[in-house]
């Protein structure tokens, strides 16, 4: 049975023309699960709409 993220991995792999061989899939999936878990941790933190991103960081 396919893991929940497998369809997503297939779709993004195709969209980005990024190869994901079957042998790599479990590790890619495990890493993506960690990244999404940590991303959700950031996502749930409420910020004012006016908050600016800091993509060019200034200390």
């Amino acid at each position: 049975m396919a893991e929940p993220l497998d369809n997503y991995i297939d779709a993004v792999s195709k969209a980005l023309a990024l190869p994901v061989e079957e042998a790599w899939r479990p590790a890619v999936r495990a890493n993506l699960e960690v990244s999404l878990r940590l991303g959700r941790m950031v996502d749930v933190f409420a910020l004012p709409d006016e908050t600016e991103p800091a993509p060019i960081f200034t200390a």
Partner: protein, 464 residues
């Protein structure tokens, strides 16, 4: 005069400038030590012996001609192999980059070190593309811990930690995106400075995460760290993130008293997920400084999460084309993390960058009432090479991803940190001395007083 293995950079420079030792002798001593011990440590990937001897002879000629020499005259140093070294391909720990044309010009920081009289003796092993906390490398083999060669040097500047910890060279340069100067400093028992983001030029070094990448020095003493740092400061139009601030030398300030500084222990996240040795190290430093105050750093765990998201996505973006064209030439562990990073939705990255803005403001508020925060550099002493998991606060967690849990929330907002080595037995461990932006001088002063008190020091290498 002959060099002793653990002679400091300041000691070598003074002896060379004073005519008691030649720069060539200092260079030959370093090259001999590399030859003697690097078969075990595996810290060097390139030894630039001819270049080093030519540079050393030029310094000796200047001295013989009565010319003034720089503050690092005759001091051997080496650089993580993501720095451009003229004549070498900048491999950045990878197999793929070995196909690049040799660099035509040295990185800015190498030029500045050599302008101060230092002598480049080689390039150092590192984790592939700097996406690493272990110092292991599938292409070059692991750099090894100089106190126990069955253990990790720490990454990703593992060769830098191993070479300075093993006293092969008194100074090395490395990079720190999430902890890659502070982690090897901790595991190898040496001093490391991650300056404020934008302080030191990154020109002609191979990037990883542009908004998080810092370069900085490793050394066996605080004076040597300050000597190297001061020599490398200054604006550089070749790095768009490099500050336009003028030079702010720290060496003349090192001996200033610290009794006027407001120092606190970082609480919350920084007191969790630690082994007893990390608790002991922070306790020793705090006790020596008479510090009992604990300041909670709000949302530090979330800051670490945001740093992780930005790292994996920016890193994936950097390597996207290489992942398409040469996926089998990557370390599989690095490749699979980068592929996953390419798949993280952009909205989460934007959230992470917005959170970063918020978090920076919280820390700025803290630094209105304190000058220094103390925190562990790593949760543990050096793990065994190849170790996959460790038990942290009762939870089995992967080593590789969690070594940097205490460094990531600090570099995330670019704060300057000196990692100081607490010489515990059987292995040393580091503590972060964290200051407000642009106050490297304060972190170095605190490190210096701890060194004078004997609380922190670089132990002699026990494993070689």
């Amino acid at each position: 005069m002959t060099t002793k293995p653990e002679m400091t950079a300041a000691g070598i420079a003074s002896a060379v400038a004073g005519g008691k030792m030649s720069a060539l002798d200092a260079t030959e001593a370093a090259l001999a030590r590399v030859k003697q011990h690097d078969g075990v440590l595996n810290s060097f990937t390139d030894v630039t012996a001819d270049r080093a001897r030519a540079k050393a002879r030029a310094i000796d000629a200047d001295i013989a001609a009565g010319k003034k020499v720089g503050p690092l005259a005759g001091v051997p140093f080496a650089v993580k192999n993501l720095f451009d070294v003229a004549g070498l391909p900048t491999r950045a720990g990878s197999k793929i980059n070995r196909d690049l044309a040799p660099a035509k010009r040295d990185a800015t920081l190498i030029e500045r070190m050599e302008a101060a009289g230092a002598v480049l003796v080689g390039a150092l092993n590192m984790g592939e593309y700097a996406y690493d906390f272990t110092g292991e490398n599938v292409h070059d083999g692991p750099s090894r811990n100089p106190h126990d060669t069955t253990r990790m040097s720490g990454g990703s500047s593992g060769g830098s930690g191993s070479a300075v910890g093993g006293a092969l060279v008194p100074i090395a340069l490395g990079s720190d995106t999430n902890g890659s100067i502070r982690v090897p400093s901790s595991f190898c028992g040496i001093f490391g400075l991650k300056p404020t983001y934008g302080r030191l030029s990154r020109a002609r070094s191979f990037p990883f995460v542009a908004s998080l990448d810092h370069l900085g020095p490793f050394a066996r003493s605080v004076t040597d760290l300050a000597l190297a740092y001061d020599a490398m400061q200054g604006p550089d139009a070749d790095d768009c993130a490099c500050t336009t601030r003028g030079l702010e030398p720290t060496l003349p300030l090192l001996a200033n008293r610290v009794s006027d500084l407001r120092i606190a222990i970082a609480g919350g996240h920084f007191q969790k997920n630690v082994f007893p040795e990390a608790v002991e190290a922070v306790s020793r430093v705090a006790k020596a400084l008479g510090v009992t105050k604990v300041v909670d750093v709000p949302e530090a765990a979330r800051a670490r999460a945001a740093a992780y998201v930005i790292t994996t996505t920016e890193g994936a973006s950097l390597h996207l084309d290489r992942l398409r064209k040469r996926p089998n030439d990557f370390d599989p562990a690095v490749r699979d993390r980068l592929i996953a990073g390419a798949m993280v939705p952009a909205s989460l990255v934007d959230r992470a960058q917005k959170f970063r803005h918020w978090y920076r403001a919280q820390l700025a508020e803290i630094f209105r009432s304190v000058d220094v925060l103390i925190a562990p550099a790593t949760p543990c002493t050096a793990p065994k090479l190849g170790q996959v998991n460790f038990n942290l606060d009762g939870v089995e967690l992967p080593v590789r991803a969690n070594i940097g849990i205490h460094t990531q929330p600090i570099s995330f907002i670019g704060l300057p940190v000196v990692a100081v080595p607490v010489p515990l037995e059987p292995l040393p461990i580091g503590v972060q001395i964290i200051a407000a932006p642009w106050r490297e001088d304060i972190a170095l002063r605190v490190a210096h007083v701890l060194e004078k008190m004997g609380v922190v020091s670089a132990p002699s290498p026990r494993g070689i």
